[in-house]
Symmetry: C2
Subunit: 307 residues, 2 copies
């Protein structure tokens, strides 16, 4: 799957992923009202609206981008129907040829991580039949529990050619509270980065490893350091756009081969129509605004990185 | 909710929580076969079997224990139907008066943590109607992202008198890989423990804080230190039983008031009938074996701690 993702990034010249992180406040009235008409003021209506909102964005952007990254929190907030909308979103995006980065940030003790890995990336057997429960291609993983919380994900990835992105340095303002603390002369995130390289060296694709890393666009100088620590690691870079990262900040995350990073934008793309810059599209054409926002993001990144 | 939990612990003299972490291998044939007869070899059948398995255990143990802790990974492994079985389990356990500790180990950047908090502990408004999506009473939270990943949980807890348990020192063998690293003369888990106390001081129940901590039974000497760092923090202690923790190891986790800790056992209780010690019950009476295992655990802990 890492090879497919790298090939799609090259083919589309688009080291970009669209974060499908819908909140109710982003969903245009015509979509929400239709869902409420059908399902009433229920969680099912919210879930239906979320799926249709996503579908519209996938339809207008899939030819430009290699992957989407649904953030499962935004679906869990609508309970079981929301989680069903997450799965419908994964299935629909796959039907358009997109790679799915399941932003689930799971991580637990070994046997529990194995169950998460199985649910999000793996296959489960019920009697004689096999199922892929949530059927992601990559999942984000939290490293706080150490190797035995991460390795069950890698084991299942090996079975099915799936991948993970391990949180190394996150994009949020207080990420430094623990991640930047100095241990033996270097910050915790560098120690985690070294582990990611170690795990990744054992599970390489053609050019990049199946074990990727998350490093926030909001910390480019740390990205530069981590790029060197993890030379064959694909870095998933959140924090572009709404969180403050710009195209010109992104160069340090890339290797000299102009590869090695994939930049996420969520609100900046999916809620583009609500910003001044794209408001002329109107809420009915929210997804055309998203397409334009992807095009502008691609231009900004290609220029900033020199692609 | 922390006051309810503390009162139930005292009333039942039971600082114990049963982890509802079912794997297919634990489910007796009569339950699985019935579900497959009804739903075929499907994820729905697995989910139905999981719920019925849990229901049997809740029915035979609810009068002995204050709380249950469903581990959501074990439900996510069955996809959307599995997550629905998680919610049915929460609802059924609540109907029996049990406090729900949602073992979800979520944690993300601020806006995403807010969505998780809302989904697992909060209320969401769809039009004029309000829903409690997963309706837990407490949730476990991963601290790797720092304060702004944890505080959205606390904000929602304050609205609804819910609580959290923050991972401080986990029970797994490689938890020390990052958590034990020395920063300014003390291990990372102590720094996290200090943050937990700080967050908790601002949100106190009558005796203990709404902000609890997770510290593994497998590390009693660290539990002793953390007990002192976080004197008014309820410590959720996993790792008893199947993971190796014993009643006599647990004393350091308790305060002089004989309170301050709640000990989890999962496999040791729910799969008791599969162990030599309880095999005489047979798989048909798996839940009577679970009741006996809870009684034995209570005796072991009351003796070990001196309750």
């Amino acid at each position: 799957m890492i090879n497919k993702l790298m090939n799609e990034i090259k083919k589309k010249n688009a080291p970009v992923v669209v974060g499908l992180d819908p909140n109710l406040s982003m969903i245009p009235d015509h979509i929400m009202n239709k869902a409420i008409k059908e399902y009433g003021e229920t969680l099912e209506a919210a879930a239906e609206a979320v799926f249709n909102f996503n579908k519209g964005i996938i339809d207008t952007t899939y030819d430009l981008i290699p992957a989407v990254k649904p953030q499962i929190a935004m679906y869990e907030q609508f309970g079981v129907p929301g989680v069903a909308a997450y799965k419908r979103t994964v299935d629909y995006a796959k039907s358009k040829g997109l790679v799915i980065i399941a932003d689930v940030k799971r991580g637990d003790i070994g046997s529990t991580s194995a169950a998460y890995a199985l649910g999000h990336l793996g296959t489960i057997k019920i009697g004689s039949k096999e199922y892929n429960p949530f059927d992601g291609d990559f999942a984000t993983v939290n490293p706080y529990l150490g190797s035995d919380g991460v390795k069950p994900f890698i084991d299942i990835c090996k079975e099915r050619n799936k991948g993970i992105f391990v949180l190394v340095k996150t994009s949020n303002p207080s990420s430094g509270e623990f991640q930047d603390r100095i241990i033996d002369g270097k910050p915790l995130y560098e120690h985690v980065g070294e582990k990611v390289r170690e795990w990744g060296d054992e599970f390489m694709g053609d050019e990049y490893s199946y074990v990727g890393a998350v490093v926030g666009a909001t910390y480019p100088e740390m990205g530069e350091k981590l790029r060197k620590i993890m030379p064959r690691t694909l870095i998933l870079v959140p924090g572009y756009g709404a969180q403050g990262g710009k195209g010109s900040d992104l160069k340090p995350f890339f290797n000299e081969d102009k590869l090695g990073a994939i930049v996420n934008s969520s609100r900046g793309i999916i809620a583009a129509y609500k910003s001044e810059k794209y408001q002329q599209f109107g809420s009915e054409n929210y997804n055309d605004a998203s397409r334009k926002a992807v095009e502008d993001m691609l231009l900004d990144i290609r220029t900033g990185v020199g692609l």
